[in-house]
């Protein structure tokens, strides 16, 4: 069989890159942010805070992520910079806006799989 007829495999990820992506999505608020931006491309920090606070309380999470001001601070100082450093989003701290960046197919696949598993696990009622 001609190996060129094999389905095209997405190029693999280096183990460092995989580690980074797993670390980035190890925090639930960051999975929420990724999932939301995958749907809407770009959002203000206020909108993302609404999503994290609302979704966390809908999932019955602790009050930590249910306090709006604290969550906004955590997004601004921690979660959004972490996603930005990993090259998943671009966070404009001056404009307080986050935008999903164009991802390589393998990165997109890893992120989408984790996000899907996350919503399937926690929102399994549907």
């Amino acid at each position: 069989m001609d190996q060129h007829e094999q389905p095209v495999e997405t190029p693999g990820l280096s183990s460092e890159r995989l580690d980074t992506l797993l670390r980035v999505l190890a925090a639930e608020p960051r999975r929420m942010i990724y999932t939301y931006l995958a749907e809407h491309d770009s959002a203000s920090i206020s909108e993302l805070t609404d999503v994290v606070v609302g979704w966390s309380s809908a999932r019955g999470r602790d009050t930590d992520t249910c306090n709006w001001d604290d969550t906004r601070t955590a997004l601004h100082h921690r979660h959004l910079p972490v996603l930005d450093n990993a090259g998943v989003i671009s966070y404009d701290a001056a404009q307080r806006t986050a935008t999903l960046v164009s991802l390589s197919p393998s990165t997109a696949e890893v992120l989408a799989t984790i996000a899907d598993l996350d919503t399937a696990e926690t929102d399994h009622e549907d």
């Binding site: 999932t35 939301y36 749907e39 809407h40 206020s46 805070t49 609404d50 999503v51 606070v53 609302g54 979704w55 309380s57 809908a58 999932r59 249910c66 709006w68 919503t119 926690t122 929102d123 399994h124 009622e125 549907d126």
Partner: protein
Amino acid sequence: MTVRTLLRRFEDSDVAITVYGPPATKTVGERLTTQGIDATWRKLPTGHQNAFAVIRRDGVFAEAVPLTALQSFLCKPMVDSDDSGTPDSDPGRQLLRSALANTLLSSLTPAQLLATSHEFEDRAYRVGEGTLRVGFQSLSIFRSQHARYETLASDTDLDIHVYGRDDWEPPAIPGISFHPLTDTTLEQVWLLAFDAAGDDQSKCALVAEETEDGPFRGVWTYNPRLVDEIMAAVVAVDE
């Protein structure tokens, strides 16, 4: 203060609600728009049970509520009109009431008003004392609530006053005073106000006015000063 001037106070309030959830939840956003609320829907791949709504007042985050509570109120309010059992409370519904408090809703159905009234009657039942004033437009409308109020009066020390156009003579119930109205001020008004025996934390009121084209526009509140004002206005009508 008339009901119209009271409702006018809420006309300019800046309330915006964003519904987050799967495509099926889009209709909730549309229902809110029907109520005159600035509502938007944003797609989010959650399950239905985890869909939620974020309420902003004057541009500032006020509250996030599960969509299920909002949806059942807007799409199919539960009305057990001849429920004479012990009233109970549901935390989801209470959350919804507080989320939409002080918000003028422009297209309320009698079923939605009745569901809200029941919540407040349940609150009065739990407090067990104080004055409860209700107006159902005409006394004949009270007829379907009769058994419920009988329980409310017999199980508690509430001082209950029922107002309405004089079109039916209700049977005497200890603890309930009926006020047949000849004045037309409350003729198009659905009203319920509870002073919780002076406990500001438990006061509540609902005021709605029937519009020309059918539905009611109304508001409910837990603001103690506002509740006091409404109580006083009702008393004044009967004097």
